[in-house]
């Protein structure tokens, strides 16, 4: 439990206890006389933590109203009208939604309540404000009681508790919802047990008269007290078919609520105070002007948390950045070391190079370029000698013109004669055949076959005599030798296409 100040206000005094870590660090009682208020003022000067004010006053009124289900400004205006109507004289009022009706207009069942005697509260609240104490809210014991009976199965339950400084508190719940609450002061001439016996009968009659308890309905009475007091109560309480008693030991309840406090009597103030500090209700009797310093305190706390979150976040982010970067730095150092080693190795190699006319890469480029160029060059002898050897076998073929062309711009080996780099063209005629056309043509065909056999590709551009069906033929008796002229296009074999580098 956080550090906080718990205040228990009864009709004529205020009990203040400073809580720290779930335990009471300091506690004081202050009367509503001027001495007590001065003492309270002095006490607050040393205590600057959030405060919760729990009131246990007779002057607390409850009214049930079914109001139309509204939201927003309309709801606020409606509630304000109700407050003006019921509780004009006090600023300490609140409206609690009990349930929404399930039939008809589905109105809201609202419990309007107020602390009707502000003069009992205002002086203490003024002191708190003067001391700039962050007041979280103003609550009442019936309001805090509601969570205690949430788990009880009864639909008509009367919770009876005793607060030493204020008296006997009887709070009636229907369907776990607060309906009314009564506080009866206990005077010195009456014991706790006697008060319970006396007031319980009155309260039962009161509930009957208000028709809150249906006829024939058994009232469950939950009695909260010290073990010894409860034993005595069991003996003193009259047995009745209208009421069913449930005895709850205050120390057991404290244990259940994890309250670290030793109870010596039936005073339940600490139960309510601890419950308030642990789970403060969302609504309270305090108005914004009462909780002004609490709002500022929360704002300050939010700013402080924001500061801390910013610092921690940035430090974590920055730390992660630095941690990640240190990896990069280590890697960079390692890379530089490797670079130095490789550079040294390269320098050692280049230091051993002989003095040359040009860098090795330039030498390679020049030699390679010349090799490529030379490969496109064919010397005449390489072309002519093999061709001449074949031609010598055919002495009746007379050459008139021989040419060859190397096309260095064309790739060497594509498999197509037309694409080969070197092309030989010959023009000539057949001699000494007179009118033996058939023999002349066979002779030339023999020459072609021989060339082809040696790997040449031969294309006939012009035949000595066109004897095809589509051609026309005339008498050749008068013709001269050059009538048997022909032209061939020859592609040498691949072995002769490439020249050797010089």
């Amino acid at each position: 439990m956080k550090r906080c100040l718990l205040l228990f206000l009864s009709a004529n005094r205020i009990h203040a206890q400073l809580m720290d870590g779930g335990k009471i660090a300091a506690q004081h009682e202050f009367s509503d006389l001027s001495d007590g208020r001065d003492g309270f003022n002095a006490f607050l000067q040393t205590t600057k933590c959030p405060a919760y004010l729990l009131t246990d006053l007779i002057e607390e009124d409850f009214r049930h109203e079914a109001v139309p289900h509204l939201i927003g400004k309309s709801r606020t205006a409606l509630f304000q009208r109700k407050f003006d109507q019921f509780y004009r004289g006090t600023p300490f009022h609140q409206a609690t939604l009990l349930q929404r009706q399930k039939t008809g207009r589905r109105d809201d069942d609202i419990l309007f309540s107020a602390l009707t005697n502000p003069s009992l509260i205002t002086p203490w609240v003024d002191i708190l404000r003067a001391q700039q104490i962050p007041l979280a809210g103003i609550y009442s014991v019936p309001q805090i009681s509601a969570p205690l009976i949430k788990s009880h199965p009864s639909n008509h339950l009367l919770l009876i508790s005793w607060e030493k400084s204020s008296g006997l508190r009887q709070t009636y719940f229907r369907d776990q919802r607060l309906q009314i609450s009564r506080l009866t002061p206990i005077y010195d001439d009456l014991t706790f047990q006697g008060s319970v016996v006396k007031e319980l009968a009155r309260t039962f009659q009161y509930l009957k008269s208000l028709s809150l308890l249906p006829s024939g309905q058994t009232l469950d009475v939950l009695l909260l007290g010290h073990a010894q007091d409860l034993i005595e109560l069991q003996l003193e309480l009259p047995r009745s078919a209208d009421m069913r008693y449930h005895y709850v030991e205050i120390s057991d309840l404290a244990k259940q609520l994890k309250i670290d406090y030793r109870f010596n009597d039936s005073d339940a103030s600490q139960i309510f105070l601890h419950q308030l500090a642990a789970k403060p209700p969302l609504s309270s009797y305090a108005k914004p002007e009462h909780t002004h310093y609490y709002t500022l305190w929360r704002l300050r706390r939010a700013l402080n948390w924001t500061s801390a979150a910013l610092l921690i976040g940035s430090l974590l982010w920055g730390g992660a950045d630095v941690w990640q970067s240190s990896g990069n730095a280590r890697e960079a150092a390692s890379l530089k070391k490797q670079t130095q080693q490789l550079t040294n190795a390269a320098q050692q190699i280049t230091a051993l190079f002989p003095h040359t006319h040009a860098p090795a890469s330039d030498m390679k480029a020049a030699v390679s370029a010349m090799h490529t160029i030379n490969s496109h060059s064919v010397l005449p002898g390489e072309i002519l000698r093999p061709f001449s050897a074949i031609l010598n076998q055919y002495p009746q073929i007379m050459l008139d013109e021989l040419s060859w062309q190397t096309n260095a711009t064309t790739p060497v080996a594509t498999g197509n004669a037309a694409d080969t780099p070197t092309q030989i063209s010959i023009k000539g005629h057949l001699a000494d055949f007179a009118a033996g056309y058939r023999a002349a043509l066979n002779y030339l065909e023999g020459f072609e076959r021989e060339l082809t056999a040696q790997g040449y590709q031969v294309t006939m551009l012009k035949k000595p005599l066109d004897v095809s069906a589509s051609g026309s033929v005339a008498d050749q008796r008068e013709a001269r030798d050059d009538v048997l002229g022909f032209a061939l296009k020859i592609s040498p074999p691949k072995s002769l296409q490439t020249g050797a580098p010089k």
Binding site: H292, L299, R300, S325, L342, D362, M363, V367, A369, L379
Partner: protein
């Protein structure tokens, strides 16, 4: 909720704390970001330098191999005056000497202005520009073997590389019907290093 002046005094410390923490956070984030950026850049540079060093080492190894394989061939090219400026005068003198040897009945030549060698098939010449000086030759021959002798002499006696591209030989000539005429085309190849001062 309305704030009074006194409220601001109450909030002063928390407000200052937020401002201070925002400032410190900004400084921390900026500094760490700068440091991260710096180390990342440093790491990238180191990686780049390492890659360069690797390439240099590979190049050194290649050079080592190339040095052994190409030094002699390159020296031959230099000696042949294929690398460097064209030696047109040498070519003319060489042709004159060949003429004196009477390898062919007669020949004439024309050398065209130098140009960049435009081979369609790609020739990777590195830092070298390949220059080409076209030379056309016209011959009068007694027989075709003279042509072969001429080009053999041209390649062996003149420093440089004459790229012969083609010849055409025809029967008949001006002096005697038994003679041959020939026309040949080609060009002198020279390699010029671009990095050398002109």
């Amino acid at each position: 909720m309305k704030f009074a002046k006194s409220d601001l005094l109450l909030m002063r410390r928390s407000s200052l704390a937020v401002c201070a923490s925002a400032l410190i956070s900004a400084i921390v984030l900026y500094s760490s970001g700068e440091y991260a950026q710096h180390t990342q850049k440093d790491q990238r540079n180191a990686q780049s330098q390492l890659n360069d060093a690797r390439n240099k080492l590979t190049a050194a190894h290649d050079d080592q191999k190339n040095m052994a394989a190409y030094t002699d061939k390159y020296a031959t090219l230099l000696d042949s005056k294929i690398i460097g400026d064209e030696q047109r005068l040498d070519w003319m003198e060489g042709l004159g000497k060949i003429r004196e040897q009477n390898l062919v009945s007669d020949f004439r030549y024309t050398i065209a202005p130098q140009k960049i060698y435009a081979a369609k098939s790609s020739v990777d010449s590195g830092n070298f520009d390949i220059h080409y000086s076209e030379m056309k030759l016209q011959f009068e021959l007694l027989h075709e073997a003279q042509l072969l002798d001429f080009f053999a002499a041209l390649h062996s006696q003149i420093k440089g590389w004459y790229q012969l591209e083609g010849c055409t030989m025809r029967r008949g000539g001006d002096k005697d019907a038994a003679q041959l005429t020939a026309e040949c085309s080609g060009g002198w190849i020279t390699l010029k290093n671009r990095n050398e001062p002109k």
